[in-house]
Assembly symmetry: C2
Homo-oligomer: 227 residues x 2
DNA sequence: TTCCCATGCTGACTTTGAGTCATTTTTTGA
DNA sequence: TCAAAAAATGACTCAAAGTCAGCATGGGAA
């Protein structure tokens, strides 16, 4: 009986259509202008149907966030397959993050929404929350792995705890990437427009600064000597 | 005729009461639960009065953001008066930022709200936006000054452009401070809860990493030799 | 003291948009 | 072919943002 399978697929397809409609609205008008009636009409379904698939507006956005965090986690795990020194993997992860945000500002926006949820919003009882957390955790684990690889191959200074260093890199790169997002999407954000500072060179310096700090830079290559 | 002056002060006092009421609500329930009727009743005025002082909900939050950004700018300029090497001023600015967010999460929240405004929200025509931008610009200038002082006194490597370095430090410390905010205010944020990583040590390592990267650390103390 | 006007204040009302549900349409399997 | 189940609909309810016609107050002129 392949009927139920086809039905299942059809359901997924519709859900995807609704998410895509919502993404477009966010891209065009911003998250705060997202309106359920408009999403419904753009997805060519009734409002009732929309609520059949997503129990409220929060879950609709979390649906986007799930896609976003999954996509990025895939990106991150792809980076890890490359045969490169750990330090370069770390740099590539940062670069992927930046590209991701530039290519999908609406995804980054939905992830910020996720970040700022409070328990007050029907939070604990949502499957989406759990899946988003999982995906983010996976990306984070990629960062930890890259650092561990680097410590193993001697390209990264092993004075630090790998997980702690990962948190540090996660936080700082989120900050830098957020600058990029705001420069691109928030016209009133003036920190960089005023002066003629390019994000390219800021990011380059970020890599140089952080990279310099965590790399072994020829001082103590014990691991390299071993191999 | 001191009457109009007293009236003016009275108006300011009421405005401050309304802002305080709104801050309390944000602190207790979060920004997304902020509700104009509740603010009005807590401030012991009618809804109509509230709208007499703030033309909409967005401006009310921007009013808080104005206070917040002003407070922080004052904090930052206080740091600059200290008679210390530039590098230590930079570290103190970072530390102040972290303390600020810990002590006033609702202020940080309102600044995030400001950051994420789109032009769609009656944006260009708001006096608040301009004042917030000014205050933030002032804080940023403090960071630039601290860096310039450090380059002058030889405690900071002058390979970088001061403004570009300031953007870099601004972005990264915003990211780190954001981690602190989330850990404190968003129960679903699991990046650090899972592992037993303390924010203290992450921040310490942040200072060590960045500080190490920008400090002259005895390699090229040309300016120090001069004096 | 009394009245008048300006300014400030009020809360009932309008509007908008999230979320619901009784009803209709479509699909499925007998 | 048809009845029961599943899916879809959009008019409705309800909460909260935002408005406005009328009320209160207080300071100055008669």
């Amino acid at each position: 009986m392949g009927t139920s399978e086809r039905k299942e697929r059809e359901k997924e397809r519709k859900k995807a259509m609704m998410l895509e409609a919502a993404e477009k609205v966010i891209l065009e008008k911003g998250l705060d202008q997202l309106n359920m009636d408009e999403v419904a009409s753009r997805a060519e379904v009734s409002k009732g149907s929309l609520y059949l698939y997503f129990k409220n507006k929060t879950e609709l956005v979390l649906g986007i966030c799930e896609k976003a965090s999954k996509l990025f986690a895939e990106e991150a795990s792809k980076v890890l397959t490359k045969n490169l020194p750990g330090i370069e993997l770390v740099v590539m992860l940062g670069q992927s993050f930046l590209n991701f945000v530039r290519e999908h500002p609406e995804y980054f926006r939905s992830m910020k929404f996720f970040d700022n949820l409070k328990e007050s919003e029907a939070l604990a009882d949502s499957e989406y929350i759990v899946r988003c957390q999982d995906n983010i955790q996976n990306s984070f684990t990629c960062m930890v792995r890259a650092i561990q690889i680097g410590m193993q191959d001697g390209s990264i200074n092993d004075d630090y705890d790998p997980r702690e260093l990962a948190v540090l890199l996660w936080g700082t790169s989120d900050g830098i990437v957020n600058l990029a997002y705001m420069q691109q999407n928030c016209p009133h954000y003036e920190l960089m427009q005023d002066h003629q500072i390019s994000l390219e060179s800021v990011f380059e310096n970020y890599i140089k600064l952080i990279g310099g700090g965590i790399a072994t830079d020829g001082k103590k290559n014990k691991k390299i000597n071993d191999s």
